[in-house]
């Protein structure tokens, strides 16, 4: 048992004060894209890396994949420094809005990536057939990639990320540009990967997907980590448990008794909509409604979501990102 719990806590990705400063333009103006990001991803979890466009998600992922070099801090995959071939061998990566070698057919494309991992022969062919099946493009295996639709490209991209049966899969914006069906399929695929014991890290600005999939999420804004933890904890920390009530036939004097309890009151003809932000206020309002013989039409608890947290954090970030040096 202890062994298993040890495994469960093993850190697959670990970054410590990771920083990236880009020099842009002719004068080499310095722009901090990633500013002191420290996070850990544990084995077997689905980890969401969230943030608005341009927050530093892709830059952080590129540093993990050895595509760009950090300006400061450290990052390790499986305990190896990033860029180490033994770490890369255990990782699958799908870049953001990827382009592939469009003159290759689906099968040739996957074979090429298999060769890069030293996979060969019938074992590779078998793996390719499995993957084409898994991502649902078996019918297109002999079609050149230039004839693929965007959704099909995303799928073959996911297939190339899985060619080496990686322990860790990093997907940069895997749902972007996909239709609702495609998004659902990617979500199902991520869950299937989790079931088979893989660790998945994906970045997204679509919070709904993250809420459905992730064990833990990190939120990055303007290069800084603003929140990190299990989705339920992050939302619980967010104390906006609001309840919305819709009431019919509420007499004006009854409304005046409710008004001090409510954070928002909207009159729509005969109908009143009030928003209450505590359980006590809800109880009191219900008493008033009953005694006034008004009719309660709807009572909707507003579940706190990642979106609330996201928007609150987004408006709270004011630190300067660009600095002339």
């Amino acid at each position: 048992m202890e062994h298993i719990s040890n495994l469960a806590c093993e850190q697959v990705i670990q970054t410590d004060q990771l920083r990236k400063v880009f020099k842009v333009g002719f004068w080499g103006r310095r722009v901090t894209a990633v500013d002191g990001v420290s996070l850990e991803v544990q084995r077997g979890e689905v980890f969401g890396f969230l943030g608005p466009n341009g927050a530093g998600k892709t830059t952080t992922i590129k540093m993990l994949m050895g595509l760009i070099y950090p300006s400061g801090g450290t990052a390790t995959l499986f305990g190896h420094p990033v860029g180490d071939p033994s770490a890369k061998a255990k990782v699958g990566f799908l870049p953001e809005s990827p382009y592939f070698y469009d003159y290759l057919t689906g099968r040739e494309f996957l074979r090429f990536y298999g060769h890069l991992f030293g996979l060969l022969g019938t074992a590779l062919d078998k793996r390719i057939d499995e993957l084409l099946e898994l991502v649902g493009i078996t019918h297109a295996r002999d079609l050149q990639l230039r004839k693929f639709s965007k959704g099909m490209l995303q799928r073959v991209g996911i297939a190339q990320a899985l060619i080496n049966d990686p322990e860790l899969v990093i997907l940069d914006e895997p749902m972007s540009g996909l239709d609702p069906i495609g998004r659902k399929e990617v979500r199902d695929l991520i869950l299937r990967l989790k079931e088979s014991g893989k660790t998945v890290m994906f970045s997204s600005h679509i919070l709904h997907d993250a809420e459905l999939l992730c064990d833990r999420v990190a939120m990055i804004m303007k290069g800084k980590l603003v929140a990190c933890g299990p989705v339920s904890e992050l939302i619980a920390g967010d104390t906006t448990h609001e309840v919305e009530m819709v009431i019919d036939r509420l007499l004006p004097e009854a409304l005046e008794r409710i008004r001090p309890l409510a954070s928002k009151v909207v009159l729509q003809g005969e109908r009143v909509m009030v928003v209450l932000s505590s359980q006590q206020a809800v109880d009191l309002a219900l008493d008033v409604i009953r005694s006034a013989k008004a009719k309660l039409v709807a009572l909707t608890p507003h579940k706190a979501s990642l979106e609330d947290l996201f928007i609150r954090k987004a408006t709270g970030v004011h630190q300067p990102v660009e600095a002339r040096v």
Binding site: G66, Y103, L104
Partner: protein, 253 residues
């Protein structure tokens, strides 16, 4: 193994590129056109065919080396395909070497096809074929390898358009370096040092040109051939190393 896969993939990419076929067809047409030009010329038929033939092979090969070579790396970066390669257990120099060897393979196959065209023309016109022709073709291939390495080097840090301009410039200057040296010798002080420095740094591409030997049926001493080959190889290795160092440092944004 990984280098080999990347090379084969590059070769396959080249094969499916229309530019290559256009250039190849033009080259074959040029070689064939020597048959027509021959009718307009008085005497010296053999020299004309050999001159136009070798010139076409050289010119179109260089065009392929430059215009395919400049895209080797910059296109991969622009199209972000490199993200999926570098994130795999492939060292960056392996990627570069694979791309380089892939294009060299393409150029080799091209040269073989163009040479077959030339040989066919020579055969049907009863032009005697001397071994020096093949030595000259070997040197042309060597020049392609140097030019490709130049294109690759520029391709690692600048855009395709700039790389094309730089590589073309190096190609032209590379054929004029003996003039640079002569010019330098007529100067004094700093000017002389600078010109001589440029002379030694830039590739001396004229060394690979044995067309005169072929048309005049002059033998090339084995020692010379060896020296030129060693020079071409060493220069190529130097360029590839420089390209690897630059490529290793850069961020793919």
């Amino acid at each position: 193994m990984k280098v080999f896969s990347i090379a084969l993939n590059t070769f396959r990419e080249n094969l499916r590129d229309k530019l290559l076929y256009n250039l190849l067809i033009f080259a074959l047409l040029m070689i064939g056109s020597s048959l027509i030009l021959m009718r307009l010329t008085l005497g010296e038929f053999h020299r004309l065919i050999l001159d136009i033939g070798l010139g076409s092979i050289n010119f179109f090969g260089v065009l392929i080396a430059i215009f395919v070579g400049i895209g080797l790396v910059s296109k991969e970066i622009e199209r972000k395909t490199i993200y999926t390669i570098v994130s795999k257990p492939v060292a960056r120099f392996q990627f570069l070497l694979g791309k380089y060897l892939g294009l060299c393979l393409t150029l080799f196959i091209n040269t073989v096809i163009m040479t077959s065209g030339l040989l066919a023309v020579l055969y049907f016109q009863d032009v005697p074929i001397h071994t020096v022709l093949f030595k000259a073709l070997g040197m042309i291939m060597l020049e392609f390898m140097v030019i490709t390495a130049v294109a690759l080097l520029f391709s690692t840090f600048s855009s395709a358009t700039l790389s094309a301009i730089f590589t073309l410039a190096i190609y032209v200057i590379g054929h004029l370096t003996p003039d640079l040296k002569t010019f330098g010798q007529k100067m004094e002080g700093a000017g002389r040092t600078v010109l001589e420095g440029i002379y030694y740094i830039l590739p001396n591409l004229d060394r690979f040109n044995l067309k005169g030997h072929v048309t005049h049926q002059l033998e090339v001493p084995a020692g010379d051939l060896l020296m030129i080959t060693a020079y071409g190889m060493a220069y190529t290795a130097f360029l590839l190393m420089l390209a690897s160092i630059i490529f290793q440092q850069r961020d793919f944004r």
